[in-house]
C-alpha cells in the first residue's frame, strides 16, 4: 500500500514536471530571453529525474547504476540540478568573467567521484554551494519582485531531496521545490504574491490616461 502511494506521488511529480516544462518552453518561444532558456534546461533535467525515479520504483530495474568509484547517475543529476541556479546567479549578476566556474567545479566533482569513492567532500561542497545560491536567489527574487528568480532558489530544495535523507522529508522537499517552481513558471508569484506597487501604479496611470483620452475623443 505504501509502495502504491509512493508510486502515485512519483507519477504526480512526473506529470507536474512535464507541465512545467511545457509552460517554460511556451514562455521561451514567446520571449526568447535567457532567463526562460535556463528554465527550459533545468526543467528538462527535472523531467528526466522524475521519469527515472518513477521507473526505478519498479522492482525489475536496479536502483542505482554505478559508473565507477562513487559516481552514480543520481549524483550526476544532482550536480546538474544544483549548479544550474549557480550558473543562473552568475548570469543574473552579469559576472561574465566567472561564467565557466560552475562547469569547471561540476566537471571536477564528477571526475573526483569517478576516481574515488569518497563522497563526503562532494556532499559538503554541494550543500554549501547550494545553500549560498539559495540564499542569494531568494533575496534577489524578493528585492526585484521577480517570481522566476524566487522559484529558481527553490531548486536547491528539490536537489536536496536526492540526498540520502528520510523518505518523507525528501518528498516534502520535493513537494515544496516543485510547487514553487510551478508558481514561478506560471507567473502566479509575480501576479499575486510579489506585487510591485510601483509598476502597478504605472499601469493604473496608463489605463486611466487611455480611458480619459477615449472619453475625450468620444
Amino acid at each position: 500500500m505504501a509502495n502504491l502511494m509512493l508510486m502515485i506521488f512519483q507519477a504526480a511529480f512526473f506529470v507536474l514536471s512535464v507541465i512545467i516544462l511545457g509552460i517554460s518552453i511556451i514562455s521561451y518561444r514567446k520571449s526568447k530571453i535567457y532567463i526562460d532558456l535556463f528554465e527550459v534546461v533545468l526543467y528538462s533535467v527535472i523531467v528526466f529525474t522524475a521519469f527515472r525515479t518513477l521507473i526505478l520504483s519498479h522492482e525489475a530495474i536496479p536502483d542505482e547504476i554505478n559508473l565507477g568509484g562513487g559516481l552514480t547517475i543520481n549524483l550526476i543529476l544532482t550536480i546538474i540540478i544544483i549548479f544550474m541556479p549557480v550558473q543562473f546567479l552568475l548570469y543574473l549578476g552579469d559576472l561574465r568573467k566567472f561564467y565557466t566556474f560552475p562547469t569547471i567545479t561540476a566537471f571536477f566533482m564528477i571526475l573526483n567521484l569517478y576516481l574515488s569513492g569518497i563522497i563526503l567532500y562532494y556532499r559538503i561542497a554541494i550543500i554549501v554551494i547550494g545553500a549560498i545560491s539559495f540564499a542569494i536567489l531568494f533575496y534577489e527574487g524578493l528585492k526585484r519582485k521577480n517570481g522566476k528568480i524566487l522559484s529558481f532558489a527553490f531548486v536547491f530544495m528539490y536537489g536536496l531531496s536526492y540526498f540520502p535523507i528520510n523518505i518523507i522529508v525528501g518528498l516534502i522537499f520535493q513537494d515544496i521545490g516543485l510547487l514553487m517552481m510551478i508558481l514561478g513558471a506560471t507567473g502566479f508569484l509575480d501576479k499575486y504574491i510579489l506585487i510591485d506597487e510601483h509598476t502597478q501604479e504605472k499601469i493604473h496611470k496608463i489605463r486611466n490616461t487611455w480611458i480619459a483620452r477615449r472619453f475625450l475623443v468620444e
Partner: protein, 220 residues
C-alpha cells in the same frame, strides 16, 4: 670529444638561464612598476607576462642548479622534480606558466568569459590530487593539461600576435616555441642550444627590443 662538448654546452646553457631568466622577470617587474607610477593604473598584460616569467624562473632555476656543480651535490632532483610526468614543484610551475599564458591570450583577445578559466582549472587539478591522496591518475591529467595548454598557448600567441599586430604575444609565442623545442630535444647538445636561445631571446624580449610591429606616431 662528444662528452666534453656536451658538458660545455650544458654548463653554458644552465648557467646562462640561471642568471638571465630571473633577470628577465626583474626587468618586466621594473617596467610594470614604472608604468604604474606614471599612469597609476596596472597594466594587466604586463602583470600576466611578469607572472609567466616568475613561474618560468621557479621552473628553471632549481632544475638547472640540480644539474651543475657544486649545487648538484645538495639539490636533489627527486624532490624538486625534473619532469612534468608527475605532480612536483617543477611541473606545478610549468602548469602555472601555461595557465597564465592562456589567461593572457583571453585578456588580449577580450574573451571575457575565459579570463579566469585556466587560472581556476589548474588549481582545481592540484586540489583534486591532494583530496585524492595524490592519486596517480591526476599525474597523467596534469601532464596532459600542460602539453595541451602549451600547444594551444603557442598557437594562439602567434594568432593573437599577427591578428592584433601585438609584439608581446608574438614574442611570447617565439619564446614558448624555443622552450618547447628545448623540452622536445631533451638532454643533448641541440637541447642545450635551445636553452641558450631562450636566455638570449628572453633578454631581447624583456628589454623591449623585440618590436617587429612598429607603432605609428600620430603628429599634430
Amino acid at each position: 670529444m662528444d662528452v666534453e662538448l656536451r658538458y660545455i654546452t650544458q654548463l653554458i646553457g644552465n648557467w646562462t638561464s640561471i642568471f638571465v631568466v630571473p633577470l628577465m622577470a626583474i626587468i618586466i617587474a621594473i617596467r610594470l612598476f614604472r608604468e604604474y607610477k606614471q599612469t597609476k593604473q596596472i597594466n594587466y598584460v604586463r602583470l600576466l607576462i611578469l607572472c609567466i616569467f616568475i613561474a618560468f624562473t621557479w621552473a628553471i632555476i632549481p632544475t638547472n642548479m640540480a644539474e651543475v656543480p657544486p649545487f648538484n651535490t645538495f639539490i636533489s632532483g627527486e624532490i624538486i622534480g625534473l619532469t612534468e610526468e608527475k605532480i612536483n614543484p617543477y611541473s606545478i610551475s610549468i602548469g602555472l606558466m601555461v595557465s597564465f599564458a592562456l589567461s593572457l591570450i583571453a585578456y588580449a583577445n577580450k574573451w571575457e568569459i575565459l579570463y579566469y578559466t585556466a587560472l581556476s582549472f589548474y588549481p582545481t587539478i592540484l586540489a583534486s590530487a591532494i583530496l585524492n591522496n595524490m592519486d596517480p591518475a591526476f599525474d597523467i591529467f596534469n601532464m596532459y593539461y600542460i602539453y595541451t595548454a602549451a600547444v594551444i598557448g603557442i598557437v594562439f600567441f602567434y594568432v593573437t600576435g599577427f591578428r592584433l599586430r601585438d609584439n608581446g604575444s608574438l614574442g611570447l609565442g617565439i619564446l614558448f616555441s624555443i622552450a618547447f623545442g628545448a623540452l622536445a630535444f631533451g638532454e643533448n647538445v641541440i637541447g642545450d642550444i635551445f636553452t641558450i636561445s631562450i636566455a638570449i631571446f628572453g633578454l631581447i624580449f624583456s628589454l623591449g627590443f623585440f618590436t617587429p610591429f612598429k607603432t605609428k606616431q600620430i603628429e599634430g
